[in-house]
Amino acid sequence: VLKALVAEDAPLLREGIAHVLTQAGLEVVARAADAEELLAKVRAYRPDVAVVDIRMPPTNTDDGLRAAIALRAEFPHLGILLLSQYVEETYAEELLEAGTRGAGYLLKDRVGDVTSFIDSVHRVAAGGSVLDPEVVALLVGRRATDDGPLASLSNREREVLALMAEGRTNLAIARTLFLSEGAVEKHIRAIFTKLDLPADADTHRRVLAVLAYLRA
């Protein structure tokens, strides 16, 4: 059973998230209402995954993010899924900079899409990365403003790139875009050639390459 920690200062939402996780078969081992409590309880309970609100006491600015970055160094195998009221690609980048393994950043609203939210929690716990589609759109949009190689991608290739950046597997991409897995593979190879990225069979490493490219 996966052990989870929920850090969120609004009590109703905190309980709601804990409920969703419990229902999905995870064990919620601890709850935290601020950043200090988060740090203390991760150290005490050693969860596999922490769902963390960015804006929490004590300063109500980016305390959750800073705590998460501190935890990355201390517990490299802890999966951290940040929840944010706003789409701040800057915050997502700061989290990824501290390590892409088991890191996720989602808009808070996404917790309502229960199935997809639970899927994200599992992916992060397993060491994968998850980015909110809106954050990916901003990152891709930012790169697209340069007249760089991103502009040479076809629309379909861009869709595939975005889904890869969100942390989806080839199978998930194929399902989302109603394509065969083989077609997805072909698009990915084309993307890597156009962006001049090293071809790699491993999905996780490919995601990292794409993220690195988008953040550069």
Partner: protein
């Protein structure tokens, strides 16, 4: 008082007239007429000048002290006559004039002895002067000792020449350290004096110190065994120096008078040229000869005084305290201004009066300007407060939205999600569809709320600063944005400036997306000589309307920070929004660093 002064003057004249022939007859000097004439001149000039000063400044004791020196001088003269009674009396008090002179010098110009040191020195001087003359008298046969046809000493008990001579040397021995102490006190006084004080002190202290020194020397040589020519030379010099003291006093008065006449002329000329903001003060300082002069203008609406820039000034509570004196200038009973100056100038009230009278009109003018500046400062201040309050209110609203409505709606969204999952699991498709629609509706509402809150105050701006927030804006723009420069001062800018600059870019990019039909936009931020320059440009159709509510609000927002917003939007070749906002000194305005 006048009658009393005249009486005193008449007494002095009478004493002199009666005493002169007697003295001249005493046969003690080679040139009796000349010595007596000089002696008379000394006594009369002290009494005359003293009475004059007394009359003009009744509450200043210097006049009385000078008069006393004159009389003590006559008393000392009495010691030289043949009448035994007068001789004894005069001989006993022969040193008194000297003590009074020292008293007057140390008390000059206020007439008061300030400080224990001075009071003690004066007291000791009196004691030494009187006791020193008195103690030898029981043993001194003046007639025999001084080899003259003098009167006998009535206090003579037993003639003992050696003892008398020894006792006569006593005041001399004590007098030297006393004289040194006086010199030290006067030197200290001079060192501590401000230029206007020195102007008043110089003649009297100079002549006085000379007279005291020479009189001391005269005592020494007349009792000692100095050769006759030396003794008589010292006598002449001492007499001349004594005459010089009242003369110097008159000179000092005349100097301040001349000084007044000389001061007002250039002041009037300087005022006619129309002195600028701070120059009126400089002109007054020059006219009064006091570099420390402060001019304070009365601001009725504040009920207080301020300098020419409108900054409040507190007047010294009372004239003379802390070395500062105040003269308030009124017109038709209403205060206009006050001049704060060195206490020494209080000794020259006529100068202050004539200078302030000459400057009254200019002061009234400057007062109006100062009042205007103060009012502008008030308005700027309250405008800054409004800007800050608005800023704080926006932050508060954003925080309330975040902690309140947004959290509740997200929780609701979660519950709807759970309900939908449940309905789907139960195979209740119509309910599931309804719940799915509700979710979609709520997602829309959440997205709108998010935009609203972000528009109120972006949290990212607070946590990461202007450059990061501007980059984030560029990433969000539907029209591709090129960042030409984002060069800001190293330290974070004040909140209102960051906000204003942020919203210039935000509103600019919103307009680009909405109206410009542009294929690309450019943003640029840099600073130049303490001004932050913020620019949003596009290659669209142009023709932007600066009167539109968005740009108008932006213009007001920038203007509230003393900045300017310019919109260049010729039809067909794009739009450029350019804002310039002055930066505080803390952000490199002082060093004039440039990044544009």
């Amino acid at each position: 008082l006048r009658l009393w002064l005249v009486a005193v003057g008449a007494a002095a004249v009478g004493l002199g007239v009666l005493g002169a022939p007697v003295l001249a007859d005493a046969g003690r000097w080679q040139h009796p007429a000349l010595v007596v004439a000089l002696g008379l001149l000394v006594g009369w000039s002290f009494v005359g000048v003293g009475l004059f000063a007394w009359w003009r400044r009744p509450d200043n004791r210097v006049g009385a002290l000078m008069t006393a020196v004159g009389f003590a001088w006559f008393v000392a003269g009495a010691g030289l006559v043949r009448n035994p009674l007068l001789h004894t009396f005069g001989q006993a008090l022969s040193g008194l004039y000297y003590a009074v002179l020292v008293h007057m010098l140390l008390a000059f110009p206020s007439g008061r002895l300030s400080g224990h040191g001075r009071r003690r020195v004066v007291l000791v001087t009196y004691v030494v002067a009187v006791a020193g003359a008195l103690t030898p008298m029981p043993f001194l046969d003046s007639a025999a000792v001084q080899h003259c046809d003098c009167a006998g000493n009535l206090l003579l008990v037993h003639r003992d020449d050696r003892l008398a001579a020894a006792l006569l040397r006593l005041p001399e021995i004590l007098g030297i350290p006393l004289l040194l102490a006086v010199a030290v006190l006067l030197a200290r006084r001079w060192r501590a004096a401000s230029p206007p004080q020195r102007r008043a002190l110089a003649p009297v202290l100079g002549a006085g110190a000379l007279a005291a020194g020479l009189s001391g020397a005269h005592f020494a040589v007349s009792t000692g065994a100095a050769p006759r020519p030396v003794a008589s030379a010292v006598l002449w010099l001492a007499l001349l120096a004594m005459v010089a003291v009242p003369g110097a006093f008159l000179l000092g008065l005349a100097r301040t008078r001349f000084f007044q006449a000389g001061a007002v002329g250039p002041l009037v000329a300087a005022l006619a040229e129309g002195p600028g903001a701070g120059r009126l003060r400089d002109a007054l300082a020059a006219a009064l000869g006091d570099g420390t002069v402060q001019v304070a203008y009365w601001l009725p609406e504040r009920g207080g005084y301020a300098d020419h820039t409108g900054r409040p000034i507190r007047l010294p509570a009372e004239t003379g305290v802390s070395g500062r004196a105040v003269t308030r200038i009124e017109r038709d009973g209403d205060p206009i201004a006050a001049i704060v100056y060195d206490t020494a100038l209080a000794e020259e009230p006529a100068l202050v009066r004539s200078v302030t009278a000459a400057a009254a009109l200019a002061l009234e003018n400057e007062r109006l300007k100062a009042a205007l500046r103060a009012r502008v400062a008030d308005v700027e201040n309250s405008r800054a407060q409004v800007v800050e309050a608005t800023e704080a209110e926006r932050r508060r609203l954003e925080r309330d939205l975040h902690d309140g409505a947004q959290q509740r709606l997200v929780t609701l969204r979660l519950n709807l999600g759970l309900a939908h999952q449940q309905a789907a699991r139960d195979g209740n498709t119509s309910t599931a569809r309804l719940l799915r629609d509700a979710q979609a509706e709520l997602d829309g509402a959440l997205a709108e709320l998010r935009e609203l809150a972000r528009g109120l105050h972006p949290a990212l701006l607070s946590t990461r600063g202007l450059a990061v927030a501007a980059r984030s804006l560029a990433a969000r723009s539907p029209v591709p944005v090129k960042i030409r420069a984002l060069e800001l001062p190293p330290a974070r800018l004040p909140g209102p400036i960051e906000s204003a600059a942020y919203f210039v870019i935000a509103e600019g990019l919103t307009n680009v997306a909405k109206h410009a039909h542009a294929t690309s936009a450019v943003i640029r931020m840099c600073h130049d000589h303490g001004r932050l320059s913020v620019e949003v440009g596009d290659d669209g159709v142009g023709g932007a309307n600066p009167g539109g509510s968005g740009l108008r609000g932006l213009t007001a927002r920038v203007a509230a920070l003393d900045g300017t917003l310019r919109i260049t939007s010729p039809g067909g070749i794009g739009t450029l929004v350019h804002a310039e906002i002055p930066l505080p000194a803390a952000n490199g305005a002082a060093e004039g660093r440039v990044s544009c």
